[in-house]
């Protein structure tokens, strides 16, 4: 007997832990796209974001028994994906492969409204974003792309509001500098 799509995350997690592995598809459908934009902006590539989300979902299944609050599966999955994005960034830095360029699709695809200047500015901003530190980029993406308040970001990441603001304010200055260079 399958769970309804309306089942809570906690009910689905309990069903999977009890051996009904197929119920995990409910969580995959529910969260596959929720954090895709975050991963794409963090990694500067749709392909890398797809890999990161896929890895995070598989890793979450592997560690499901360690999810202490199954009803907060979404936040727990976010932390796994966040660690995956940070690890990917560190790996690229170690290998000397900086995120110098972003995918066309991530860096602002051509729009039907034909506002070329706006598209160009969006691309410039996306390319500047990947030159921030991962911590600065994360807080910028969560606040200005995902639209979260500092308090919500603090609850998700465990950082204090004061340290998040400090990172963000440094990010503003760095972005201004990078966009000046670009223009």
């Amino acid at each position: 007997m399958g769970l309804r799509e309306q089942a809570t995350d906690g009910e689905v997690v309990q069903a999977v832990l009890a051996g009904d592995v197929e119920q995990y598809a409910v969580l995959v459908r529910r969260y596959r796209d929720r954090y895709a934009r975050f991963a794409a902006r963090m990694l500067g590539s749709l392909d890398a974001a797809e890999d990161a989300v896929q890895d995070a979902l598989v890793r979450a299944f592997d560690q499901l028994a360690q999810c202490r609050e199954p009803d907060k599966f979404a936040g727990w999955l976010f932390l796994i994906l966040r660690n995956r994005c940070f690890a990917e960034r560190r790996r690229q830095t170690r290998e000397g492969r900086g995120l110098e360029a972003t995918d066309e699709a991530v860096a602002g695809p051509d729009r039907p409204d034909g506002n070329v200047e706006q598209v160009e500015r969006t691309r410039a901003l996306e390319q500047a974003l990947v030159k921030l530190t991962p911590e600065q980029r994360e807080v910028f993406v969560l606040k200005h792309v995902e639209g979260l308040a500092y308090e919500e970001i603090a609850a998700m990441t465990g950082a204090t509001v004061a340290s998040l603001k400090m990172r963000m304010h440094r990010a503003y200055d760095r972005l201004r500098e990078l966009l000046k260079e670009h223009s």
């Binding site: 197929e22 794409a40 790996r91 991530v106 990441t157 465990g158 304010h169 201004r176």
Partner: protein
């Protein structure tokens, strides 16, 4: 070198002020900053539908794995009904032996050259754990782990004198925590006083297990 934004302009970008709240001389800078935010692309990203099938194929493969089944049998809690028929002197003797063992453990803690070790009990369900790293050339050292969401700014270590010893004591909840030291904000170092485990992404982490009786590295 581009000039940094004025603090009031940063508060404008944070949404705490409006453009009209700024003094007249800052409004042009504020307008420029708002144009920057106006270019943020908030278009939703939708991943290919094939991702679901790929994830579920991998999930099924892992669920079938004999290794995973064996691991689950080992780690998953289960109800066990235990019936014992003992004489009262066995119970009292056993209790005394356990009490003596616990007393010995607390009287002579095993020596630890560094790394993570218990200090004393913290609040209920937490234990104070001291992290120690010998890093004579470092300018700053922090410890990041699952207990602080790998935030490398959350737990900076303090240098003890000029000898290169860095230390911090944290109250950690009971459970297993992975961690690593971050030296000078860029170099991730596993605890040299503890065995490392692969984090799955090519880096080594250390693990500390915190119980009601203390903490030990794994």
């Amino acid at each position: 070198m581009t000039q940094a934004y004025h603090q009031l302009v940063k508060r404008l970008l944070d949404g705490e002020l409006s453009l009209s709240d700024l003094p007249a001389e800052l409004r042009a800078e504020g307008a420029e900053a708002l144009r920057l935010l106006g270019t943020v692309d908030r278009t939703p990203v939708l991943l290919p539908v094939q991702l679901d099938a790929r994830v579920m194929a991998e999930v099924r493969r892992r669920a079938r794995s004999p290794l995973r089944r064996a691991w689950r049998r080992l780690v998953e809690p289960r109800d066990v009904e235990l019936r014992l028929r003992v004489r009262p002197w066995v119970v009292w003797g056993g209790a005394l032996a356990v009490a003596a063992t616990v007393a010995l453990l607390f009287a002579w803690p095993p020596p630890s050259p560094g790394g993570a070790r218990p200090v004393r009990m913290a609040a209920r369900d937490s234990v104070f754990v001291r992290f120690v790293l010998y890093a004579p050339g470092a300018k700053r050292v922090a410890v990041a782990g699952t207990f602080n969401q790998w935030d490398q700014n959350a737990a900076p270590l303090v240098r003890l004198g000029a000898g290169g010893i860095w230390t911090i004591t944290l109250a950690l909840p009971q459970g297993q925590h992975q961690y690593a030291f971050v030296v000078d904000g860029e170099r991730w170092v596993p605890d040299p006083a503890a065995p490392g485990i692969d984090d799955g992404f090519g880096r080594r982490n250390s693990v500390v297990a915190v119980t009601a009786h203390g903490a030990r590295t794994l």
